[in-house]
């Protein structure tokens, strides 16, 4: 790949050196090299290519002179060979002094050649746009006339054309009186306008088909199996030679083939760059790249065109090339005559790379440190360092979690956090991307524990799961193929249901995900049972195996065309604000990559490095391309996709909120916290490491105490009633947060805790109200760690937390149950929520045996090797809770690790007004587009006088007000822009602060002004 690019460069250099001489055609080539016309209506489009000395090509199809040696056999008109009579002859294709002879054979001219409905009439209807989604191909048709979208259902279309509407649309005796010709010819009013001309190839087909009786095809008719497009896959057209004829050949299942150039449907991905005529002649326009799409029936191919135009005054200037990324980006820039920008300054780079890799601004200290660092490798070192941080793992996990709908509405009971943490751990440990995908796609079990199984809990149907998986891992929006063949891609309805069949046996109920041995997916139209996708890749997968394994193996296989490309493209888009293929989840041949060589090189690199995502991020960040300035010149200002310069990017909602947090000093330094947490964790682990030394003593003491173990209970507190809509909503809503230590002096939703000294164990406690909830709380004093059995009776919903940990939940129906409670030595806080749907409303609470069960002493009695892993962990937990110093340490670490205050670091979106305004997704869709990127008025209002900004400025100035003006200004600029203020900025700011009567107000003004600058809100 790299070599290819270098070769291109070489070619370009040579071409310039050779000057005009390079313009001469060295060799003439005619495609096809032999012509066979085996039926009356067959024809052959010639494509004549001239090869220049410098390796460039030029289309000469319409510049050559073609003669036929035997005019009784064939005739050539505008590059198209037409049959005259049976026989063999040769075409002489001449350009200047060169002639190519094309043997031509014509047969079957005496036999009829009736129109084939499935392969010709349908193609003609598609070509004229009759069955497009906006016309008669829409689900209900238009004006009472309905066709299947792009002709995927011939049976339906035949009825519509010939029989529906009292046979009004065709007239076999007088074809010209047929409504289906008169309407598009606009011989009578047609809302869709003029769609057909008598000179169109499609007109001849449609008219002839009607003339021949408007009949369906005989049952044995050949079906199209593929199309072949020439030239393919790529052509460069350099001004002034901006034309290229295309030839399309359809292949059929009886081994025959037919030139369908006039009947194929053509499109362009960018009509400013290249357009194509109905006859398949491409015309280059502005410089750039475009995909020309060729559709014939359900087959779709694309040819990528690069249009090169002269740019007056352009002269290539070298920029350093750090790795293959730069080489490939520059090759493309050079070809299309754009200049790469110079490398950005350190202050820009440090801010850019921190934001991209961690979501956070560098702190003032970090910014200064970096600019003072004299090491020539300091950029690479910083990239390496940031990739190892907790912030990086969390911020990039956020990007993945965005796509997997990680939100507590879909994944309640802490499962959203669980899945996020699992994704974060994958980034933290840099788990290979193929393993990551495999684990997700084959996960099952209780998703309260098996984190990746939650992937299967966010969708409501197999179809949704199919579409989400395709979009995330294959970058393909195959949703269209649910109802019909995909209009712009080769995905057919068969493919869609074949992928669905992979998930047909996944059973999900509540938090449980299981794979059953039965369950099929039927094709909705044909009723056929679909073979699961990937079946042929893993043929050893038998009927009873998990079908997802076959699919996952297909997906992560080396040769999979999507998987690696989709991932590197996502990474690229996170770093440049735009994918090489954009939108990132819309890979299709009609949406070409802006630099296919680059995309392929990155994907190959990912695969060669064992799907090491971090390696790709590092490679890109180290490139000069990534480190380019945002400044533009005349020679690259209008480039938006080739990465000649870095685009200005508005900070994402989360980045912006945290950036404001840093600048206003209302967020602690995340990296410092991580350092502190790491230190404390080390201390904690040291202590734990000491446990084995004293284990025997501890066990002995424990067993001694166990003999006299006692449980005491405080009297009850209660709070309520609470209510939120219906029963289920009330039951699910947390009105009182479960804490490890409950504080009964706090108020919740305007209600206070009430002491209930009269409530006794083994007596019914009554409440009142329907669809309401109460919380009750008491402390259980255990003389020693123990497990007791709580005998609970109740009506409707009960949830129990011990020490803030969720231990029991019963949603509805009568309850009479023994619930084991694990209590630690000392005070244990019990919190119980009772919810009532209607009728009786009570709980009946009793712990009959207050000595604790023999469960824990039993474990202790056993020798260490006879304990299960869980039992050993339980004992360790008990030992820790008996040590107040360790418990305190644990809390401290948890507090430092808690990043809920950071929008970029949270497990799921907070969805505040501010974040919503800046496009934070709710995580309800697997589409990257759910993150809105359009600027809105609301954003301006939020920045100018929104509560979030106001609050943070108030708080910030309150803590910073002791700073001297000069220091305040310097710190502010460093925090916001990662640079010192310029002399003029400093002077203006200082003058403002000094002059102001109210210093604090002036500081607020200054902070507000800084936050509202473009330099702050954008990533440069």
């Amino acid at each position: 790949m790299i070599q290819g690019a270098l070769r291109l460069l070489l070619i370009a250099t040579l071409a310039m050196g050779l000057g005009l001489g390079a313009d001469e055609i060295e060799r003439l080539e005619v495609y096809p090299s032999t012509v066979t016309l085996a039926s009356k209506r067959s024809q052959a489009q010639l494509v004549v290519t001239g090869y220049l000395a410098n390796g460039e090509t030029r289309d000469l199809t319409h510049d050559v002179e073609v003669t036929t040696e035997d005019a009784q056999v064939a005739n050539v008109l505008n590059g198209v060979v037409l049959p005259i009579g049976n026989g063999d002859t040769r075409l002489n294709v001449r350009f200047d002094s060169q002639t190519v002879k094309v043997p031509t054979s014509v047969t079957h001219q005496a036999e009829p050649d009736p129109i084939c409905f499935n392969t010709e009439t349908q193609a003609a209807l598609t070509k004229q746009g009759c069955n497009a989604g906006s016309c008669h191909g829409s689900p209900d048709g238009k004006a009472g006339f309905s066709l299947s979208l792009f002709a995927f259902d011939s049976e339906h279309d035949l009825i519509s054309l010939v029989r529906d509407g009292a046979n009004r649309r065709v007239n076999v005796l007088d074809p010209d009186a047929s409504l289906m010709l008169k309407k598009p010819l606009l011989r009578i009013p047609h809302v869709g306008g003029k769609k057909l001309r008598p000179t169109d190839a499609a007109y001849q087909v449609l008219r002839q088909w009607i003339f021949e009786g408007a009949k369906p095809d005989p049952p044995e008719s050949a079906l199209c199996t593929n199309i072949e497009v020439y030239p393919s896959p790529h052509r460069i057209l350099s001004a002034p030679h901006l034309k290229q004829q295309i030839r399309v050949v359809a292949q059929f299942d009886d081994g025959s083939s037919r030139d369908v150039t006039p009947l194929a449907t053509y499109g362009t991905s960018n009509k400013n760059v290249a357009t194509i005529t109905p006859a398949g002649l491409v015309k280059g326009r502005e410089r750039g790249q475009a995909a020309i799409t060729v559709r014939y029936l359900q087959y779709l191919e694309s040819i990528y065109f690069t249009i090169v135009q002269p740019v007056p005054g352009f002269e290539w200037e070298d920029q350093p090339e750090h790795n293959y990324v730069d080489q490939l980006v520059n090759a493309k820039l050079r070809q299309l005559k754009y200049l790469p920008a110079e490398t950005c300054q350190d202050s820009t780079f440090v801010r850019r790379v921190y934001l991209d890799l961690t979501g956070l601004l560098p702190t003032a200290v970090q910014a200064v440190q970096f600019s003072n660092d004299q090491s020539p490798q300091k950029r690479d070192q910083l990239i390496d360092h940031l990739l190892e941080t907790e912030s990086h793992a969390r911020f990039w996990a956020l990007k993945t979690a965005d796509l997997m709908r990680v939100n507590p509405k879909l994944l309640p009971d802490g499962r959203a956090e669980l899945l996020f943490d699992w994704i974060r751990d994958n980034y933290r440990e840099n788990l290979a991307h193929d393993r990551f995908a495999y684990q997700i796609l084959t996960a099952s079990g209780d998703s309260n524990r098996a984190a990746p199984a939650n992937y299967f809990c966010t969708t409501k149907s197999v179809e949704e799961l199919t579409e989400m998986t395709s979009q995330i891992f294959m970058g393909s929006r195959i949703g269209c193929a649910k109802c019909h063949n995909h209009p712009f891609e080769n995905w057919t309805q068969d493919d869609y249901y074949s992928i669905s069949a992979v998930f047909a046996r996944v059973e999900q109920e509540g938090a449980m995900v299981q794979v059953s041995g039965a369950g099929e997916k039927m094709h909705p139209r044909t009723g056929q049972v679909m073979k699961p996708w990937g079946h042929d890749v893993s043929p050893d997968i038998d009927e009873v195996s998990d079908r997802r394994i076959g699919f996952a193996n297909w997906l992560i296989a080396e040769q999979n065309p999507f998987f690696a490309r989709v991932e590197v493209n996502r990474i690229w888009s996170h770093l440049f604000g735009r994918g090489i293929v954009d939108p990132v989840d819309d890979f299709r041949s009609s949406n070409p990559p802006s630099n296919v060589e680059l995309l392929n090189a990155l994907a190959d690199d990912l695969k060669q490095q064992g799907f090491d995502r971090r390696h790709i991020i590092r490679t890109i960040c180290r490139s000069q391309t990534y480190q380019r300035a945002t400044n533009t010149t005349l020679f690259n200002a209008d480039d938006s996709e080739l990465c000649s310069h870095m685009p200005l990017r508005l900070l994402t909602a989360e980045q912006l909120q945290d950036a404001i947090g840093y600048v206003t000093s209302t967020l602690p330094d995340a990296s410092a916290r991580q350092g502190d947490a790491d230190a404390l964790r080390g201390q904690f682990e040291q202590e734990i490491d000491l446990f084995p030394h004293s284990q025997a003593d501890w066990e002995k003491a424990f067993l001694e105490e166990a003999a006299t173990a006692q449980l005491g209970q405080t009297s009850w507190f209660s709070i309520g009633p609470f209510r939120q809509g219906n029963y289920e909503e009330t039951r699910k809503q947390d009105f009182v947060p479960a804490m490890s230590t409950m504080d009964t002096t706090l108020q919740h939703h305007g209600k206070s805790w009430q002491s209930q000294p009269d409530w006794n164990d083994d007596e019914q406690i009554d409440f009142s109200g329907s669809n309401t909830a109460y919380y009750v709380h008491r402390s259980l004093q255990a003389s020693q760690a123990m497990e007791v059995m709580l005998h609970l009776k109740g009506d409707d919903g009960v949830t129990i937390w011990i020490n803030g940990e969720h231990v029991f939940e019963q949603s509805k129906s009568f309850l009479d149950q023994q619930i084991p409670l694990l209590l630690y030595k000392g005070s244990n806080d019990l919190l119980m929520k009772v919810t009532n749907g209607g009728g009786a409303f009570y709980v009946h609470y009793n712990i009959p045996d207050k000595d604790g069960t023999t469960h824990i002493p039993d474990i202790v009695t056993r020798s260490a090797e006879n304990r299960t892993m869980e039992e050993s962990q339980l004992l360790q937990g008990i030992r820790i809770t008996a040590r107040p110093d360790l418990v305190a340490l644990q809390r401290k670490i948890a507090k430092l690790m808690d990043r809920d205050a950071f929008a970029t670091q949270r497990p799921y979106p907070e969805q505040t007004d501010f974040l919503k305004a800046f496009g934070q997704p709710e995580r309800e869709s697997p589409c990257a587009c759910e993150r809105a990127s359009e600027p809105t008025l609301d954003q301006a209002l939020q920045m100018l006088n929104g509560q979030e900004v106001q609050r943070r400025i108030e708080q910030g100035v309150a803590t910073l007000s002791k700073q001297e003006p000069a220091e305040f200004i310097d710190q502010l600029y460093l925090a916001a822009f990662s640079r010192h203020p310029r002399e003029k900025e400093r002077a203006t700011a200082e003058a403002y602060l000094v002059k102001s009567a109210n210093q604090e107000e002036a500081m607020k003004d200054l902070m507000w002004a800084i936050i509202n600058t473009q330099e702050f809100m954008f990533q440069h």
Binding site: G144, R169, L173
Partner: protein, 471 residues
């Protein structure tokens, strides 16, 4: 007005050259505008803010007497291909352009009925070409009618009606020079004449009375904006009703030809029309999934039968209705279309059951009085016929089934058609049923035992198909 029409027709029939001093707007110009201009400049679209579908609008593009100052003419002869009208299409023929020039020069007078209504709604009756001498391919049989004595069978053809001996399948005569398609026809009670309804899809409908011997058009009752799909005669032969794909239903006095009323109650094509035995009501079936019951005297809506669009109860679904008729004995109405059952219902009870909006919810759960005869066909059913005790129907399965009217039991099944059946006609006199299919084949059956009497391709000159009646 009628006399003007007739005289104009006469002029045309006499073959007078089109370039004559007196140009008739409605005859010479309006059809050209309709075909070539109103697609972009009409009721639905008004490109460049021009509408040319009514005379009121057209006037804005004309300076009377001055073709060289009239946009209408100038844009037709514009030299710049991009600006010339019709845009992006072939130019008008020199003859048509010249006619327009002459008409403007001559004062641009409007000879239609209503300058503010579309030309299509007041089209002059067209003259029709002759049918082909020999049919290269058969055309689908859209309409048939037994003569009152059952001796002749009239079959709709291409620009003609063909008259056959139903017992032998031999062609008796051809009534030519008729509309392109004939979708519905009926002999008059006195015989000797046929009422035909048809036209050209999408642009023209015609309702005419023709001489059954010569084919001469005795009277053109009316023109429509789209095909006439159904006609019906009352039992005394006084009144005639016709419904069209232009959604209207209209009634005429058969004798005078006077239009009695026009009804606009359907939101899609009206597909068939039928008088009740007491001549009080007519029912009009439609693609809009309803059957409308109208007062025969004034066309006022009496009630709507919604039994073809039900979410609950028997045979739920939303179905287009293609055919309807009355049982002469009981006076009950019948209707059929998509879906798998014939609905039998009483218009008066339907009105009672339809009730008011207030009790709608309760009504959903009431079964109503409607009876259903399941015909068991898989696709749409287009035709319905009824005699003394049986109801006959047939459709896309190519099968005809007869059911006992009172019990709903299947009495006969007639198979043999190779294609969709579009039309059925009964002869009480000869106890025959004739059926016409998409492939052009007509079959004649004995209504007593369902045996096939004759089958033939109703396409003059078309090679006779090998007899397939034995299979």
């Amino acid at each position: 007005m009628r006399s003007v029409t007739t005289s104009l027709l006469l002029l045309v029939l006499l073959g007078i050259s089109p370039l004559r001093a007196e140009v008739s707007f409605m005859r010479d110009i309006a059809p050209v505008l309709q075909q070539r201009c109103t697609g972009c400049h009409g009721a639905k679209k008004a490109k460049g803010n021009y509408r040319l579908h009514t005379f009121e609008y057209l006037k804005e593009a004309i300076v009377s007497g001055e073709p060289e100052e009239s946009d209408l003419y100038l844009l037709l002869v514009e030299e710049d291909a991009e600006s010339r009208m019709p845009q992006d299409d072939d130019a008008l023929s020199p003859t048509d352009t010249e006619l327009i020039r002459q008409w403007i020069e001559g004062g641009a007078t409007f000879d239609g009925e209503n300058p503010s209504k579309s030309f299509a709604s007041q089209a002059f009756p067209r003259t029709h070409p002759s049918p082909p001498a020999v049919y290269r391919v058969p055309v689908p049989i859209m309409a048939m009618a037994y003569s009152n004595d059952g001796v002749e069978l009239a079959v709709a053809g291409h620009h003609e009606v063909t008259i056959w001996d139903p017992e032998s399948g031999s062609l008796l005569r051809r009534l030519s020079g008729l509309p392109l398609r004939i979708q519905s026809m009926s002999w008059t009670p006195r015989g000797g004449q046929l009422v035909i309804g048809g036209g050209t899809a999408g642009e023209y409908g015609e309702l005419a009375l023709i001489d059954a011997m010569t084919g001469e058009r005795l009277k053109v009752f009316d023109t429509f904006e789209d095909l006439v799909l159904g006609i019906g005669l009352d039992k005394q032969g006084k009144q005639l009703a016709a419904v069209s794909a232009d959604r209207t239903g209209r009634a005429y006095d058969l004798e005078s030809g006077k239009r009695l009323w026009t009804s606009n109650v359907h939101s899609d094509w009206a597909t068939s029309v039928s008088f009740s035995p007491d001549n009080c009501f007519i029912i009009s079936t439609s693609k809009d999934q309803t059957v409308k019951v109208l007062n025969a005297t004034d066309g006022a809506l009496f009630t709507t039968f919604n039994g073809h669009r039900r979410n609950f109860g028997d045979f739920p679904g939303r179905f287009k209705v293609f055919a309807g008729c009355f049982d002469p004995a009981s006076g009950l109405a019948m209707s059929v279309g998509e879906g798998k059952a014939i609905r039998i219902w009483d218009p008066i009870k339907v009105k009672e059951e339809n009730g008011t909006a207030g009790d709608m919810e309760q009504r959903f759960f009431k079964a109503g009085h409607t009876r259903y005869i399941s015909h068991g066909f898989s696709g749409p059913t287009f035709a319905l016929a009824v005699d003394a005790d049986s109801v006959y129907t047939g459709g896309s399965d190519g099968l005809i089934r007869a059911f006992e009217f009172t019990s709903g039991k299947q009495r006969l099944e007639m198979s043999g058609h190779q294609d969709w059946i579009y039309t059925l006609t009964l002869s009480r006199a000869t106890k025959r049923l004739a059926t016409g299919a998409h492939d052009g084949e007509v079959r004649v059956w004995d209504t007593q035992d369902g045996t096939l009497i004759e089958s033939f391709m109703a396409a003059p000159g078309y090679p006779v198909r090998e007899d397939t009646s034995s299979d």
